[in-house]
């Protein structure tokens, strides 16, 4: 894991003191809310439905036990005993007091964490594959690249006031576990002629105008990647629309210019950037890479796991994935207990996960964009004891990638932008399908719920998506089918008229019943939908 050098720490410490002074001036009346709002947002502090909300950055979703314990400490000391893990692999707290915020940032800084650039029209937290470094299918570890981009984008003077927020994702596998093509820029690390470089996709995103990012370059050399990204951002910063917030994302620019013209302009800028010599030396990437060197794995470990406990065996089958190293496994901790709040974890649960990581996962955890937690380095021999402790703490739900493993935004229960509640719908769906046994029969089904058109719950990318809308002051839910955030990336299509809260649960059951009746060998829900098309599903849903 990357460790701050003196520059990193000095920057973060200075920002804490700067914000402490800004908060003091606001509380003293020396700053108006209009003056203060952009300052607090630059430090991840929003004003939400019930209180201030603080979003803390978790760079590419990577945490140590020490950092995880700090997240529990903040939940316990400054919030109401819990936190919410987000689709940007971050964590946010819902009940923060402005007067406490500077102390929270100071506490975070002691463990090399902060809330910088978790809001505002800047480059946000770099996201990545939650299995980086341990996945058998990756061609290299994407974390050093993500860290390089974190350093490049932190306080970047030219890109602090972009037309709109900007999200970058880095993966290194043909299997996309991070919704890479639904980012403003997506990077897929690839190998060509023995060299590592990046395929670059630009102009993806969700929100009110969802788009799958087109490829704009099939290979950028490792030692030119920062310059190339600089060119991508420069073209966007120059021509992105600042006159209309809803048309300000890069996806609109790429769409309106056309991908060929955007690519041409980027190449022109890239040629210019090459002459400036701003590319960080490869030694810097090598320095960063050293922090992510593979651990010293134990060898000769047993592969067999005792499956005599049926509940444990179910969890093994659902939540534990193969590791690239013999004798080890990747453990997914579901934050989606049936009837619970997707992504929420109590301070005690966060502490427990930190303890388990320290004892059994080389001190490391990951946050996934699907709002779960990963222990990436677990010996198979330790799986049973880990499961027992997770299960006792309400963290043993065996539902990875099943219908109850939903992405759900906070919705109208917490968010001031939302039009409808997301969480109660998620709870009803989970209870329905866990209760009637259909979850097991259905298998993989990625369901995603957003409480408004901003799509924080990734509803466009759900095999089944739900979008909450306000219909004359009443919550209403539109249903979408056929989306995917994976390597077969696609956007869901709306089925037709919306539903009530209970009605949308019934509609999903009718759609999944059709799937169960019509599926062919090996087909997931998404595959059957793609084969049959919308019409039979629409018929089943609306009758």
């Amino acid at each position: 894991m990357y460790l701050y050098d003196s520059y990193d720490q000095a920057m973060v410490d200075a920002r804490v003191e700067e914000f402490r002074d800004q908060a003091r001036r606001r509380l003293a009346g020396e700053l108006t809310e209009d003056q203060f709002k952009p300052l607090r947002l630059m430090n991840g502090l929003y004003l939400q439905l019930h209180a201030y909300m603080l979003r803390v950055a978790v760079p590419y979703g990577t945490l140590s036990s020490r950092k995880m314990r700090m997240l529990a400490h903040i939940a316990r000391k400054y919030d109401r005993g819990y936190g919410h893990f987000t689709t940007r692999q971050n964590i946010q707290y819902n009940w923060i007091k402005l007067e406490d915020a500077p102390d929270i940032l100071a506490d975070l800084a002691t463990v090399e964490m902060h809330a910088i650039q978790t809001s505002g029209n800047c480059i946000r937290n770099i996201s990545s594959d939650q299995y980086a470094g341990v996945a058998a299918d990756e061609i290299t570890d994407p974390r050093p690249w993500a860290e390089l981009l974190r350093q490049w984008s932190s306080f970047h003077p030219e890109f602090t006031y972009l037309p709109r927020k900007f999200k970058i994702c880095v993966i290194a596998s043909a299997n996309d576990r991070a919704a890479m093509r639904l980012h403003d820029i997506g990077l897929e690390l690839v190998e060509r002629d023995g060299r590592i470089g990046a395929r670059v996709f630009a102009g993806g995103g969700m929100g009110r105008t969802p788009m799958v990012a087109p490829e704009i370059r099939d290979f950028v050399e490792e030692d030119e990647l920062v310059s190339y990204l600089e060119a991508c951002l420069r073209v966007y910063n120059r021509y992105g629309r600042r006159d209309n917030k809803f048309k300000a994302r890069i996806k609109i620019l790429v769409h309106e210019l056309g991908v060929d013209e955007y690519r041409r302009q980027v190449e022109e800028e890239f040629a210019h950037m090459r002459q400036l010599g701003i590319q960080p030396p490869t030694e810097e990437l090598d320095r960063i890479r050293a922090y992510f060197a593979p651990p010293v794995y134990e060898t000769g470990l047993p592969e067999e796991v005792d499956r005599s406990d049926p509940d444990f065996a179910l969890w093994l089958d659902r939540n534990v994935l193969p590791h690239k190293q013999p004798g080890y496994a990747i453990v997914n901790i579901s934050l989606k207990p049936v009837g619970g709040i997707p992504g929420d974890a109590s301070a005690d649960q966060i502490d427990l996960m930190a303890d388990l990581a320290e004892r059994h996962s080389l001190d490391q955890l990951r946050v996934t964009h699907a709002q779960n937690i990963v222990l990436p380095y677990v010996k198979k021999a330790d799986l049973y004891t880990i499961w027992q402790q997770l299960d006792a703490a309400g963290l043993g739900t065996a539902n990875l990638d099943r219908i109850s493993d939903m992405i759900a935004c906070p919705g109208l229960d917490y968010c001031s932008l939302a039009n409808a509640r997301s969480i109660p719908v998620a709870q009803k769906i989970a209870r329905r399908f866990a209760g009637n046994g259909k979850e097991e029969a259905i298998g993989e089904l990625k369901l995603k719920i957003s409480g408004c058109i901003n799509a924080c719950g990734h509803h466009h990318a759900g095999h089944i998506g739900i979008l909450g809308v306000d219909r004359k002051g009443t919550e209403n839910y539109q249903l979408l089918l056929g989306g995917s955030g994976a390597e077969d990336c696609s956007l869901g299509a709306i089925t037709g008229p919306g539903f009530t809260e209970d009605g949308v649960v019934d509609a999903i059951e009718r759609a999944t019943d059709l799937y169960l009746a019509q599926r062919q060998e090996g087909e997931r829900f998404l595959d059957t939908y793609r084969r049959l098309g919308m019409a039979p599903f629409k018929e089943a849903i609306y009758g």
Binding site: G29, E33, L49, H50, A51, N94, L98, D413, Y414, T474
Partner: protein, 95 residues
């Protein structure tokens, strides 16, 4: 009826205008009629409230009830964490 609401500057708590000051309990809120803007200007200036605004509501047997669901949830607290609610008995969905 019209209610004044906003957030406490320091704590961020949702608060409602009572005619004499601010309360976390919507049951203590009063109809401000046409006086809303003047009260808001005065209270924001004094930093007793942050990001304040006027909402439409109706008087019910159990007290003032905002017309819009978003304001009813603000007044109640998260419906999925009633243990954290401040006014959990507020009907969120109208009959």
């Amino acid at each position: 009826m019209k209610l004044l609401t906003g957030n406490d500057l320091a704590s961020g708590d949702v608060i409602w205008w009572t005619g004499k000051g601010w309360s976390r309990h919507i049951g203590e809120a009063v109809d401000v009629g046409d006086e809303g803007d003047a009260i808001l200007a005065r209270e924001e200036q004094a930093r007793r409230v942050n990001v304040a605004y006027i909402v439409d509501a109706e008087q019910t047997d159990s007290g003032p009830l905002p017309n819009h669901i978003k304001e009813r949830i603000r007044a109640s607290g998260p419906t999925v964490r009633t243990d954290l609610a401040i006014n959990a008995d507020i009907p969120i969905v109208r009959a």
